[in-house]
Amino acid sequence: MISRELYNAYLHKGNLSSTFTFFALALFCASLTLGPNEIFLRQSAPGLIWILAILTIFFSTPLLLKREAQCGLLDEILLHPSLTSTYLLSKVMAEYLFIGLPLAVMSFLLSPLFALSSGETLSLLLTLLIGFPALSALGILGSLLTLNTQGGGLLLSLIILPLTLPLLIFGLSVMEMTQLGLDSFPSFCLLMGSSLFLLILSVTAGSWALPFAAER
């Protein structure tokens, strides 16, 4: 199942370029509107990058999943003997490799735009890498719930964004600790804990939502 999902995600590679371009362009515009004040840029960078990463994931996931569902691929998944949660976890993994990692690398490369120091960039990268599995899982859950509607990414963000708050809060508190030069380890642990919890929660809910989404 894992190899199937990895291959499935690999086939979507053509669609992903617009996802990454969107992320880069949005970051660029955001840094431009904030002006050249370095202190201000540094303070607002983590929040902006996090929000834009979340939105990028939440807007691209439903598009991919919707196309797969329209082609009848979800039916095949349901007829497959492995558990739906196995499928969802493989999908999270595939999305992590094909969307999450590139996004993290891109925010790493674009961090000079926000005048971040190397230490700050590193902890930003770490928080993103820890948060992405939960974000992907939430995105998949939301896509399944909104699959048979016309809402798309907008509706998904509307219903799922409140659930991402723990990640945002702990991720940003890590960044704040780093910028203040304090010990950020406790916040890291909390971030990991909430990421794991949200991952489990959304996979559990998703394995209920998958047959529901296929019912049309």
Binding site: N148, L163, L201
Partner: protein
């Protein structure tokens, strides 16, 4: 036969009996509560007359949480047992809960202006109530986004259940977060006991809100029930 009590027929019977009682008692409690809250109860020694808004604000917050609680219970029935009557009840309760949440937020910020000098503070309690409002909004948006309400209610119910698990985390995380910004957030009752002269109007107002909720809930559930009956009849003819 597990759910005999939850059949529409029994619901109509019980509510036929309950509705006028709730209406009258609600009106009485409201009048008495307002009278004692605004006129007979003493002003707070620190906050003065401004604290009288508490009698509107606190019951609203309680009701907002209470509504979400029963919404989650009904949602559980929808998701696990696919009970059709639970759908009707869940749909009926959600907008009322949202109404109480809005009321709580508005009165809260009006109270905040004279007390804290600002309408909004990023305090743990405020933020989690705001998130509660977003959850209600998401629930309703998802329900409405489906062309078939039978599908919409199932998707939305799952969301409501996840929300109830997530709510304590959000509250907890905001608490953690805020230890950085505001070491001491404002607590509404500094001392553990309130004077009985304040407890009486608060209790009366809470009862009034409860009865008001019951009245609205019964009206909405009956409307929804009739709507469905109409749909079925149209389908048959």
């Amino acid at each position: 036969m597990k759910f005999t009590l939850a059949k529409p027929r029994y619901f109509l019977k019980v509510t036929n009996f309950l509705f006028p009682i709730a209406l009258v008692l609600g009106a009485l409690c409201f009048a008495a509560g307002l009278y004692s809250a605004l006129i007979t109860s003493p002003p707070d020694y620190q906050q003065g007359d401004a604290m009288r808004i508490m009698y509107i604000h606190v019951p609203a917050s309680w009701m907002a949480l209470f509504c979400y609680g029963i919404l989650a219970v009904f949602s559980l029935f929808v998701v696990v047992w696919r009970h059709p009557f639970a759908e009707i009840l869940a749909i009926s309760v959600a907008p009322i809960g949202a109404l109480f949440t809005v009321l709580s937020l508005v009165t809260g910020s009006l109270w905040g202006k004279p007390m804290w000098g600002t309408y909004w503070v990023w305090d743990a309690r405020l933020t989690s109530v705001l998130v509660l409002l977003f959850l209600y909004g998401g629930y309703w948006a998802l329900y409405k986004a489906y062309a078939h309400s039978a599908q919409g209610i199932r998707a939305a119910s799952l969301l409501a259940i996840i929300g109830v698990i997530n709510l304590p985390i959000i509250k907890g995380s905001v608490d953690w977060w805020n230890t950085l910004h505001q070491p001491a957030s404002l607590t509404k009752f500094g001392s553990p006991s309130i004077h009985p002269s304040m407890l009486l109007p608060l209790g009366l107002m809470t009862a009034a809100y409860g009865f008001y909720f019951l009245v609205l809930f019964i009206i909405r559930a009956r409307t929804e029930l009739n709507k469905r009956k109409l749909l079925v009849q149209e389908g048959l003819s």
